[in-house]
Amino acid sequence: MTLDLELQSVSDEELARQSQAGSLAAFEQLVARFQSRVYAFAANWRRNDADARDITQDTFIRAFQAIAQFDSRRTFAPWLFAIARRKCLDCSRHQPPAADAPPEQPDFDDPAELLARQEDGRNLWRLARRHLPHAQFQALWLRYAEDMRPAEIARALGKTQLAVRVLLFRARQTLAAKLDRPGRPAAPEENHETFIDKI
């Protein structure tokens, strides 16, 4: 089925408004935009392809059924990810983690050097997935992979903004500790302006 070309330039919120008015084509455009993102979110939680596909499908079905409840003055993504998160929780409640989950990637000998080499951050994500608790990883994922602000993450995770900031802080603290191997010298004083200025 070819997606409507006109709908491709429409914002998520406008598509949601059209879906509220009963347009299935608009909702299909939303599915096309968010399918991979919801799948990635679910796959990070369940680490199992079949579960992630089921969660993705259930999320969109639930979103379609509940689209009238979406407040179109707000952003669509946090609302959708809030549904996805609930579906992930339901799935975890009903099924223990799958035994045939793909094996974890081996830990890195030297994460700091690896990070320096890898510009795309993929390995840092792997490190985060391995070492962070669910809630911290989700907050980090929504912050960076979905480019959400703490207020939007709070809506998606059903937490307060302060709780989200604490989750992000703890996640960064853990990652910093993993990157900070023993014996590594602190940043030289003459160079620290560079990274402080980046903050």
């Binding site: 879906s19 096309a32 796959a43 079905i61 840092l124 960064r172 900070d180 602190a186 004083e189 990274f195």
Partner: protein, 171 residues
């Protein structure tokens, strides 16, 4: 635990995009631990900002989702669940209000409670108790009372004790 709050502020600054206050920057410059944390957090921030590789859109999954969506009923703009959600608590509230009104109308007049301890009403109650004990043994036929005499004696004793207690409470 050391410098926890400062580290939290560094982390917050990464999310807000606002520069750190001068004093805080000075503090970071002076402390190697804070400097290292700020450096690692900034490195991680930069690395994580590059979008992770998402799986390619799975056409089969999309078709499966759309098939399931068509199978479910289309959302009806007229039957907004928000209206239904509003109606449910409103009807419960109305039912509760009606129940309260009904109870208020049906409630019998309250039994007058003696306002003070002791007084003529307490004396009358004690008197009635004593009379009741004596009357029971007098008025009941002996055939009925005979097998229950012990129990009646106990009841009579209890009533006397109760009367004594009530009288003792008198000022």
């Amino acid at each position: 635990m050391k410098h926890l709050l400062t580290k939290f502020r560094i982390s917050n600054a990464l999310d807000s995009g606002r520069p750190l206050p001068r004093a805080l920057q000075e503090k970071i410059r002076r402390c190697p631990e804070l400097r290292r944390f700020a450096q690692d957090a900034a490195e991680a921030h930069r690395a994580l900002r590059s979008p992770p590789t998402l799986p390619p859109a799975d056409e089969a999954l999309r078709r499966s989702i759309m098939r399931a969506l068509r199978a479910t009923a289309a959302p009806s703009p007229s039957a907004r669940p928000s209206t239904v959600a509003w109606l449910a608590p409103a009807s419960v509230f109305a039912a509760l209000a009606l129940a309260c009104v009904w109870l208020a109308v049906r409630r019998p007049p309250p039994v007058p409670v003696p306002a003070t301890r002791g007084g003529p009403q307490t004396l009358a109650a004690a008197d009635r108790m004593l009379d009741l004990g004596g009357e029971m043994s007098r008025t009941m036929p002996s055939a009925v009372v005979a097998p229950l005499s012990n129990e009646l004696a106990c009841v009579d004793l209890d009533l006397r004790n109760a009367a004594r207690f009530v009288l003792a409470t008198l000022p």
